[in-house]
Every structure is written in C-alpha cells, then in structure tokens.
Amino acid sequence: MTQIFKPGVKLSSKVCKTQIMVLRIPAIELEIFCGGLPMEVGDPDVLGEIQGENNGTLVGKRYTDETETMEFLCTRGGEGSISVSGHKIDIKAAKKLPSSD
C-alpha cells in the first residue's frame, strides 16, 4: 500500500534486521521495500522470506535514488536491499570532510 512518508520516520524490514530512517523524501504516494516486502514502522514479530536478489544494507550508509530526490539513512544493517516503487536505490558516495571537533 502506498503512502506519503515524512522525514525522520523510521522503517523496519519484514525480512531482515534492516532499519532505515527517512532523511529526505518527496511528499508523494510511495512504497518502500526491503528484500521485496514493504517496510513498516516498528520491528515485525516474525521475519518473512527474502525475495529476489539482495545485496544487503550497511549501517550508517546513506541510500538515495538516481536523481537524489530521496535519501535514507541505514540505522541497522541487514541482508535485504532497499527499493522504492519506480526508483533505483543505491548507496550514496560519502563526502569526506576533515574532522572539525
């Protein structure tokens, strides 16, 4: 089921431990998946079967679409991959800044 997501919301995978936080997202109806199943607020009691090919998620990495209209922060890694209806989601390259404190 599609819905409008708000920045700051945390979504959990239904197939693995993956948890993401929405950093930026257009205010349109979307569906966010992990490992082929839609992600939801709150961890599931039982994990479902992972579907399709998955590369997994890495904690601390940012994930974004090709045009960078949306961005997710992986707050807990897992085996499933993130996808969004109609968009290709990939790891965003880190901009390295010197540490300032």
Binding site: P7, G8, K10, M21, L23, V59, G60, K61, L73, T75, R76, G77, A94, K95, K96, L97, P98, S99, S100, D101
Partner: protein, 483 residues
C-alpha cells in the same frame, strides 16, 4: 530525529568499542548507552538535566540521557561567580543537576557525580522523536548578558549527518577533548566522536604539559583546541618532542594568531590542521579551512594565498553563507560586511527572545568579515565591537593586526572609547614585552592605516582579560576605559 539515534547506532554497531576515557577509567558504547538510560530514568516530570562539572564519564550520558527522556540538556559554566550561577539556575529550574557543588536553589535537585547508581534497569527505547530542544547553552556573553541559545535535535542531527560518516574512525583513533562541557565544541565532540566511533579521552583541566603528556600516553590521534591552548602548547613545546601519534588537530572558538598556527605547523609538520569556524547558534562548525588549504597557504609566496592561514575557510557543503553590507546588499569579494548563514543546523533561536532568522531562514551571525575571490571567509570581529568614529565604521581587528607587527607588542586590543568630538574613538590596550613610546604606535597606525584609526588613548596592561575558552572580553576592557 533525535540525537540519541547516534548512540543507539554506535551501541548496536560497535558496542564493545571504548567510547570515553578519563584517567584510567573508560566505558564502551554499550555501557554509555546503559548509563544514558539510567540518567533518563531519573526524569519524572520533564525536569531539564543540568550539568555543573568539569568533563567526566557522566557528561556524555547526561547529554544522551536527556535526549532519551525528551528533556533539555543544560551544561553550566563551573567558573561563574555564585551570583551569576544562581541567576542561570533560576532560569533552568525545574531541573535535575549533576554536580559535586553544594547548590541550594528552588526547583533544582542535585545529584552527585560520583553517586549515580548505575544499576538502574530502565529501558526507554521509545524516546520522543520530534523537533524538541536537545541542548540549551548559555552564550559566553562577551558583549553583554549571556543569552540562552537553544539547539533542537534536528539542528544537531543535521550537523552530524552533514559532516560525519558513521563509523568512519578506525578502532585505534582517539580524540583528546579539553574544551569544557558548556562550550558548543564540547557538545559537538561527543556527538561526532560517537557517530564516527572515535574514542574521547577527556582532559578536564587543560595545561600544555598535561595535554602533551596525554597525547603520548594515550597515543592520541585527534584533538580540538581553542587558540589560547595551541598558543600555550607551542610556547611549551620542547624541540625533542614529536608527538608521532597525533594526526589531526582542529581549532576554533576564537581568532588564531597567524604566528601561532605557523609555529605549530613548523613544530608538527606531520599533523593535519583544520580551522573550524562556527557559533553556538549554528550547532558548531559552518566553515572549514582544511589541511590542504593550510599547507598550500603555508608554502605559498603569493600574499593572497598566504593570508589564508588567517582565514576561516569555506562553508561546509550543507551551509550557505553570504556577506551583506549595512544596507542589506550582497558585498563584493574583499568588501567587509555582516556574515549571514543558512542551513538546517542553524538554530538562531534564544530562550525568551525567539528566532533571529529572517523570513528566508538566514541567520545574522553578528560577525563581520569578507570573502576573497575564491570564497574563503575572513572574520574581522563582532559587529558589536565595531568602533563608530564620526559615522565611520572602524574594525578593531584591522588596527590590532597592524599594532601587533610592532616587535615589542605581545598582545593588543582596540575598543571604542567615548569621545566628545567624534562620539567614539579608538582606545588601545597593549601588553608590551619591553617599553614602547606611544608615538611609535601612533606613527605605525598612521602610516599603515589612516589618521582616523589612530588611538586617542593608549593603556598598558600586564595581560588582557580572556575567558577560560580564550575569548577576549572586550566588555571588560571597555569598562576599564570608562572608569
């Protein structure tokens, strides 16, 4: 978004790593997480969490604990007079205050630093996830009564997510923290170190000797210093010393004298220096002069490149910065004006005063400065410190830079003094290493600048009044002239 996310991720991904160390005691991220939950469980009726102590292992737990409980963390300056402290305590009541001081104030419940029960089993995983205030910081009040700046969770998170990569530090990395908990750099260090996974080693009472000893003993890789601290280190530096473990030194919180940074770069050629410019109200760093900038400026024979050693660097990617003149127009390169910034980490809000952002989200830093043609920012000083002589704006920094070139001048400050003819005129306070004739100074200013910059009064002092984090207290100097 809530800053507790930082600790939650750290505890989950690297729970066994050392998080904070003081003397021979240290705690891991898991233990810090547990301590923070213990702190949070003390909050029963939305009391704020105050912290009146030097840095210790409890400080990061108090910061994150307040975040879990959804209340404000308010670190207080332990060097304030009793009267000043009481005034601030009244402003933060009701609060739970971590301190070893004997405090009696209505609505303030004190808990000793050493007596916190760590066997508390509180599990508070459903922390508030909103736009609440995370930290309340009293500004240093160098120009007047301290204001209370509020930093929201979203401001601090924007700063961390915009500048730090999660777990980017190696397990062997550590940062030596010698700025107090009530300084924005002390708060920012806890957040960015926890997110990057870099161990914090605390040094509550800074001295150059203790700092150097600790760098060697703990094989410190990173450090943050205010200019006064770096000045003391280079003065005490023994030529046989090399500090091989030290890789990165960031500095900020005040104007760095060019001679100090040049000397530091000569003494520690293997160290990467970063100048971090920021304000309390901007959740720390908004501009950086990075290690490459330092080296190319240091080695350049081009005066315009060389002077970048005195620059605050360029805005970080998540910050927009403009210079506007007093009429509100954008300044050209090299044109001095007021520094305005915009970005998610910028709060610009004070308790009881409200937001200082304009309708388009721009914050007037009240710092004056200019950009060079490549966008490097040069900070001239505070707008409040400008001397207005007969309608002409004179910046103290310009005069100070010239006077400092006199070989007998160790330190100098220019302030506004009352003048019957011009409204205000230039008053100069000099710390001299050996006697100077007033005429030498007057001649120097007249030749290098112009007659309106010439001081009408010159005083000599043994030292200038600085606060403990190295900010020059111009207000005290102005009061001294008024007497």
């Amino acid at each position: 978004m809530n800053i507790y996310l930082i600790l939650q991720m750290a505890a989950e991904a690297m729970g066994d790593r050392e998080a904070v160390k003081l003397n021979n005691d240290s705690i891991t991220y898991s233990e810090l997480n547990y301590m923070s939950k213990s702190v949070a469980s003390l909050v029963k009726n939305n009391e704020k969490i105050g912290f009146l102590s030097e840095n210790n292992l409890l400080m990061p737990a108090a910061l994150f604990g307040a975040a879990i409980a959804g209340v404000e963390f308010v670190p207080l300056n332990y060097r304030l007079s009793e009267e000043q402290l009481n005034m601030q305590l009244k402003r933060i009541s009701p609060a739970i205050l971590f301190t070893d001081q004997d405090i009696k104030c209505k609505g303030i419940k004190t808990i000793g630093i050493t007596t916190l029960a760590l066997d508390n089993k509180a599990e508070l995983d459903n922390y508030s996830d909103d736009e609440a205030v995370a930290v309340e910081l009293f500004t240093s009040g160098t120009t007047g009564e301290p204001k209370s700046a509020v930093l929201k969770h979203k401001n601090l998170m924007a700063y961390i997510l915009g500048t730090v990569e999660f777990m980017s530090a190696g397990a062997e990395e550590s940062v030596l923290l010698s700025v107090p908990p009530y300084h924005i750099a002390g708060i920012a260090a806890v957040l960015s170190s926890s997110y990057s996974g870099r161990k914090i080693v605390q040094l509550p009472n800074f001295s150059a000797e203790a700092w150097m000893r600790l760098v060697i003993k703990e094989k410190i890789t990173n450090a943050f210093l205010v200019p006064t601290m770096l000045k003391r280190i280079v003065e005490k530096f023994d030529d046989n010393l090399s500090l091989p473990s030290l890789k990165n030194v960031a500095y900020g919180g005040g104007k760095m004298p060019r001679s100090v940074i040049e000397r530091a770069m000569k003494l520690l050629p293997h160290v990467n220096f970063t100048n971090a410019y920021g304000l309390t109200e901007t959740s720390a760093t908004i501009c950086m002069l990075g290690p490459e900038d330092h080296r190319s400026a240091f080695n350049s024979s081009d005066a315009l490149i060389k002077r970048r050693l005195s620059s605050a660097g360029r805005p970080i990617p998540s910050i927009e910065l403009i210079i506007k003149n007093d009429e509100g127009n954008i300044c050209l390169p090299e044109e001095l004006g007021n520094v305005w910034v915009r970005g998610e980490q910028v709060s610009g809000e004070y308790k009881g005063i409200g937001s200082k952002l304009d309708s388009e989200g721009w914050f007037p830093t009240k710092d004056r400065g200019f950009l060079d043609s490549d966008g490097y920012l040069f900070i001239d000083g505070r707008a409040d410190d400008v001397i207005v002589r007969g309608g002409e704006n004179i910046s103290p920094g310009e005069i100070e830079d010239v006077v400092r070139t006199h070989p007998n001048v160790e330190d100098v400050a220019a302030v506004a003094v009352k003048d019957i003819e011009w409204g205000e005129a230039v008053g100069l306070v000099i710390v001299a290493s050996s006697p100077i004739e007033d005429d030498e100074i007057i001649k120097l200013v007249r030749t290098k600048l112009r007659s309106s910059r010439v001081p009408s009064i010159i005083k000599y002092m043994d030292e200038l009044p600085y606060n403990e984090t190295g900010k020059l207290l111009r207000r005290v100097i102005r009061d001294n002239f008024a007497d």
